[in-house]
Symmetry: C2
Subunit: 437 residues, 2 copies
């Protein structure tokens, strides 16, 4: 019996997951390597960070996902490098040969050369990021309740969100909802309504990939919630106890203890290892420039997809955005290409079909862009709910998330308001959020 074609997929995000699923009936052996044991539904991670959902509600154990797909083997390992001549992938304690390699390891937060901001202004990429952000938000209110200095109370109740993309918009909207509703009657000294949420956005409008009229609708919704939207504003410094915002050449120092980073992403660090091993080009975000069929120049056996890839949209000449939809379609295309090749065929280049863009702003408000059709408000929000529920990988999670959303909608209560990760209260010495006091 001839040995089967070996496909190694690095990363169990949207791209890797859909590639592996699409290979279900292919005559190949698939190994899916991830450093986490679950697929994470990142579009809802901000709801974990704001206490509405639990991490498990938006995660699907990879082994459970592929339980009934015998040609997929899941490996929990962190890939450290590549030997593209030998066609092997290296990880700690081992290596793995491949015939076809799909690299879909995703992205990381980018701090524009200020990696020292990372601990002060966490981004939202992992489950641990989300529970850490949740901890900081809730601890800020707890510390404010105990604080006697009114200036310090004000700083503790000031939240700065850097970045006006979907994540920044969602986070700042949710923060205002927490302050105005979820924490109502919860405190005896402070008034959570005094909370100030600043959304600092370097662009001239929020949600820049959307058409201007939807950006305006989103901004109106944010303002109605109480968010202070600062367009054309850069975060130029993050320090314990304050941030510096710059707008039209003027700098402003804003006292705050909670800064959330949604201002930029770059390809994960595995991208540079792959570029070094293959000689592939990378763009300014560290993404690997791929051919129209998503392979590397000179390496038709290596595909790079999802947030790691710089794939050009032939229609616009622009790189495709780092969103789930792109990764899913790239994953499926890659799997189809592999199946075609096994039959001696080739497929036409990858073509992205934009099915529409959605972003939610808060309770009962969202924007939806389907090209000709543009919707803002309640209808867009219902659509957003539906699309996100349907994309959750496990049926159980769909029901759990739906129930919790309904509950949250009816009662304003966010039940997953746990301060965890450290046994008890933040230790002053360890915690940037507290070290400035």
């Amino acid at each position: 019996m001839a040995e089967r074609h070996r496909v190694v997929i690095i990363g169990g995000g949207f791209g890797g997951l859909h590639a592996a699923r699409q290979l279900r009936h292919a005559d190949v052996d698939v190994t899916l390597i991830d450093k986490r044991n679950f697929h994470l539904f990142q579009p809802l991670l901000y709801q974990v960070a704001t206490g509405a959902l639990s991490p498990a509600n938006i995660a699907a154990p990879l082994r459970a996902v592929f339980r009934n797909q015998p040609n997929v083997r899941v490996l929990l390992a962190e890939v450290t490098g590549f030997d593209v001549q030998e066609r092997t992938v290296h990880f700690e304690n081992g290596h793995l040969p491949y015939d076809t390699l799909i690299v879909a390891a995703g992205s990381d937060n980018a701090y524009f050369g200020h990696d020292e901001w990372r601990s002060l202004a966490p981004g939202l990429k992992t489950v641990e990021d989300a529970t850490e952000i949740r901890r900081r938000i809730l601890l800020a209110f707890e510390k404010a309740e105990l604080e006697t200095d009114p200036e310090e109370v004000k700083a503790l109740m000031t939240f700065v969100v850097a970045g006006g993309g979907p994540t920044g918009v969602e986070l700042s909207g949710a923060l205002e909802e927490i302050a105005n509703h979820s924490l109502r009657h919860n405190f005896r000294t402070i008034h959570p309504r005094d909370t100030r949420v600043i959304l600092a956005d370097a662009a001239d409008r929020v949600l820049p990939p959307f058409p201007p009229e939807l950006s305006e609708a989103a901004e109106r919704s944010l303002k109605r919630l109480g968010v202070q939207v600062e367009n054309g504003t850069m975060v130029v410094d993050v320090q314990p106890g304050y941030v510096v915002l710059k707008r039209n050449g003027t700098e402003e120092r804003v006292p705050t203890h909670t800064v959330l980073w949604a201002a930029g992403v770059r390809a994960c660090k595995l991208a540079s290892a792959l570029a070094a091993a293959t000689g592939a080009q990378t763009d300014k975000h560290g993404r690997i420039v791929v051919e129209p069929d998503l392979t590397l120049a000179g390496h038709p056996e290596i595909f790079v997809i999802g947030d790691m890839a710089h794939a050009v949209n032939p229609k616009t000449g622009q790189p495709l955005p780092g969103v789930a939809q792109v990764a899913i379609q790239e994953g499926r295309y890659t799997a189809k290409t592999i199946r075609a090749r096994l039959k001696g065929k080739t497929l036409p280049p990858f073509k992205y079909r934009n099915l529409g863009n959605l972003a939610t702003i808060g309770r009962a408000s969202a924007v939806a862009d389907f090209g000709r059709i543009k919707i803002a408000g309640f209808t867009a929000w219902v659509l957003w709910l539906f699309v996100h529920l349907m994309h959750l990988v496990q049926f159980q999670n769909r029901v759990l998330v739906f129930f919790q959303w309904a509950w949250c909608y009816l009662t304003w209560n966010r039940a997953a308001r746990l301060i965890t990760g450290h046994d008890g209260i933040a230790k002053e010495a360890e915690e940037p959020v507290a070290s400035s006091k």
Copy 2:
């Protein structure tokens, strides 16, 4: 206006929570201090540790619980000491005066003078303990799947649970269910059914507080699940890579990487601070010996309740057990005493009413002891489900837990199987579970 009577409650567990609730209509100002921002339903913590539930499902934010009880103020702080002359409680950055003090700070795991075992054999007291145990259980299977040495695979798939009380019985039962059902078809190299779960119990039978016939029923259920029940067996050493079990004077070295500790508890360390401040007696478990009205001798204004208290059952002459039921009744009695005193009355001594004991062994099996009536099996299990659901503090959590239990029962799937807490895979240097490799 005269100042109101000030009640300070330390600890938002069963005792403190029910004391505060019972003071709802009392003319007092209540301050509830806890180092965590949530009440934890500890009887279900093992279900978080075994991936069936999420932490938020069994936790209720204390501020949400007392949202509509204006005479309760919640403080997130860790109490560090007492000044019983000045009647103040001290915590970092502050202190608080009281007229009546209720100390209900709970218990901690006891390692019988072997605190060095703590990191190798975690107990199950906090949310972080539960997610750490979950991480170790799941990582053991992951490492076994990658391992080539058959002896090492065997060690990785051996789980030792120390202690045959309710927690040890529940954990070992759940481990067998994971191995035999939840992880079915999840691996390609190992067979989770080869898992060996050893329940090492120093007593001559499991569940010693139950009547012997129920202990026997529980042991039969455990064995049917596949648990190797070792009565009269002590864990005498815990080392990276193995434990030493001692039975009838003979020692056996069992290679394992996952040891779970359910063998003993002691009062939390605040008990010794309180004993030092008041001159109160403590028992061998560090619990504070209280008067028949749950106050300290010479300090009628200080109540100690729950797992921290050594309250004698006048019927048996034995101390009351450290279970939720005792803490709840003590909390209510304490609140009633305070209300009676405000009216110049006194109450008769505290009398514990045992409403029955329940312990579950696994799917569809439990034991229930109501004195004359003893039940084992499915009926006891349904009762167990019902009682535990009804005691969850928030209605939302009741629905979520019920749904997840139903789902788990129908599909055997445990959805909350996330390895979290460390970004990615265990770092060899930091992790006892891995350091022996």
